[in-house]
Amino acid sequence: MENGKQKSGSLVWLVLFWLYVTLPLLWGVASTLKKALALFD
């Protein structure tokens, strides 16, 4: 039981940590993509 709790806790931490790095990256990619679309206007 304790082991299962620990495992799900570390899984939540893993997801949060990945979100912490990917969300700003996605924001940066979206900003760049918006700028890049000017090429096809």
């Binding site: 893993l14 940590f17 912490y20 940066g28 990619v29 900003s31 760049t32 890049a36 000017a38 090429l39």
Partner: protein, 464 residues
Amino acid sequence: MADFFRKSRITANAGFNRWLVPPAALSVHLCIGQAYAFSVFNDPLTRVLGVSAPTAADWKLTTLGWIFSLAIVFLGLSAAFGGKWLEKVGPRLTMFVAACCFGGGFWVAALGVYLHQIWLVYLGYGVIGGIGLGLGYVSPVSTLIKWFPDRRGMATGMAIMGFGGGAMIGAPLSVLLMDAFKSASSVGVMEAFLVMGGLYFVSMLIGALTIRIPPADWQPEGWTPPRVENKMISQNHVHIDQALKTPQFYLLWLVLCLNVTAGIGVLGQASVMIQEMFKGSVTPAAAAGFVGLLSLFNMGGRFFWSSASDYLGRKNTYFVFFVVGACLYALVPSMGMIGNMAMFVLLYAVIMSMYGGGFATIPAYLADLFGTQYVGGIHGRLLTAWATAGVLGPVLVNYIREYQIAQGVAKADAYNVTMYIMAGLLVLGFVCNVLIKPVHEKHHMKHDEFDELDGIYPAGEEEA
């Protein structure tokens, strides 16, 4: 306090999830990648005193150009000299020092902007920040290689992709902050530097606190090293200093330098080139969009090609860069001549993906040849090739272009020879890659040497 940074404190416990290491590495690389977006500060920095328009006492663009150049030079120097130290003290302390230097560098530069003293900006962002860049760049790479022996290329690709992505975060973030802080008496750069220094320090600190190194005998669950022996993947280790005595190090230095020189050379002229080759149909805004598109391919290529190298092999991946790259560089002028902009953009995009891929695949190539134990330090020394290419690429391209125009060649055609010369550089790179053979066993370290040399210990074998 010193104990907090020791390798033994960051050796992972059993059951540690190795997928926590890539975001720790990305926490650092996404910050230091901001360096490639520094040019967004250039225009506002020419108006620090005049605010709405430059005054005679304001800094000139040529003066400001040195900030980025200094940062790249100190990146190369600190990576080269700090790599050995990294192997000795481990990634946590190195990443912490990198955070202090990169964040602190912004603050010193902010003081320089406030006092309008350019030497303080050079010292802050160029020297101190540049040291943070170099240490931050190499510190998580060797750790990732050790955690992902089954997918070295993909692991290093993730971190080095972050360096490419850092510019994409840094550019809009800088603009957002300058817009928020600008007023009748300020262009908002000093305030933006202060906030960014703080944000980057905290983010890099998170990376330093969460990084872990694997125990010495650790292997991924269910994975055993492949039985079929690949001579290009060594099971032995070569010491940092010994690596410099091998021809493989210098051949790889040339491979990286030539690939980066060609890439940097054409990247720097991409915006002007598309406007001059397709005169009238490409506006400056569209050209800026083209550069944005290239940076996306540069970033994506870092992950794609380094991951592909796990299946193709490192040597074959570089063969693709050099053979396909040389053909594409040579084809670009023809696309301009026949007015095929879609193909021109596509060729350029693939070229940029391979430029990024070259950066991301090199640590795994080093690990294959020299072993994983000192790959961080060896990688640091190899990055001097990047600093060299950073100077060589733009100088070569600009010189050839100016010479062509002086000889009466039309501006739109002046790029043709440049692209053919860049293709020639890739052919040279191909030859260097052909010459790379496995490292001779006389360079391999013996087991007892691990304990004797320079106090550098394999992960998990450190003295208590």
